[in-house]
Amino acid sequence: MNDRFYIQNYCEIRNGEILLNGERVFSAGNESFTDFAKMAYRHLAIAYPKFFKMDKLSKLAFLASSQLLSEESNTALVFANRSSSLDTDVIYQCSIGDKEAWYPSPAVFVYTLPNICLGEISIKYKLYSENSFFVFENFPAAFFPAYAGLLIRTRKADDVLCGWVEILEEDYRAFVYRVGKEGLIEHNEQNLNRLI
């Protein structure tokens, strides 16, 4: 059985820019993440109003994935980050921190888990595939090839969307890529460390 899999395309989001396979597809300048995400949504003509209800982590993961996914594919999602859902956890904590004004927001609470972003992507793209979200200290360049390879070899998925989606306040970075049986860049630790 073929043990080699390949990065087919990749999307990066950082510093107000979206790059697809290294080519800039959108640039917003020095905006807050929320404004940047709104501008990117309109520029990319995504037309999915639920986007505006998502938390920042889901918006980041959603924008990057939108460049790489097609509907109803057997594509597994394997994402990771360092700060889990801390950005939203802090917002939620603020809403319940004052005993005199205790108004916990249900719409914020539902995003206090990092894997919710995978649900948002799966709903939009009608994916019924495997999905997992991991928390690592740093980009897991050895883990992604091992895990994605396992999913494809065991036929849990035809291909895999791997993603590092990190956001905390205004510090954000996404590196999301699609792995399959064919492509030009072999999916291994060395190549990931070069691309990230």
Binding site: Y103, P104, P106
Partner: protein, 85 residues
């Protein structure tokens, strides 16, 4: 009452992040859930919090929301009768 209805529309838009909707887009009798404005169950919970926070109305039975949140008209009528702030 018209002022209250406009206020409710603006609060709904802000609380539920209805980015592409303006108060003028929502008719007083439009269904808020289902085929109307397309709100979901999490939105319903958010509206319950809004009643408490902005109008001092605590819904003891969430099932009451089904009738109260049918439209802006029904919300305005309930708020006008039960508000404590």
């Amino acid at each position: 009452m018209d002022q209250l209805k406009l206020e409710i529309k603006e609060k709904i838009i802000a609380a539920l992040n209805l980015e592409d909707v303006t108060a003028a887009d929502i008719n007083d009798d439009d269904a808020l859930f289902g085929d109307g404005l397309g709100l979901d169950s999490i939105d319903a919970l958010e509206l319950i919090v809004m009643l408490d926070k902005d109008y001092g109305i605590k819904l003891s039975d969430p099932k009451e929301g089904r009738n109260i949140f049918r439209s802006v008209n029904t919300m305005a009528a309930y708020i006008a009768e039960h508000r404590t702030k």
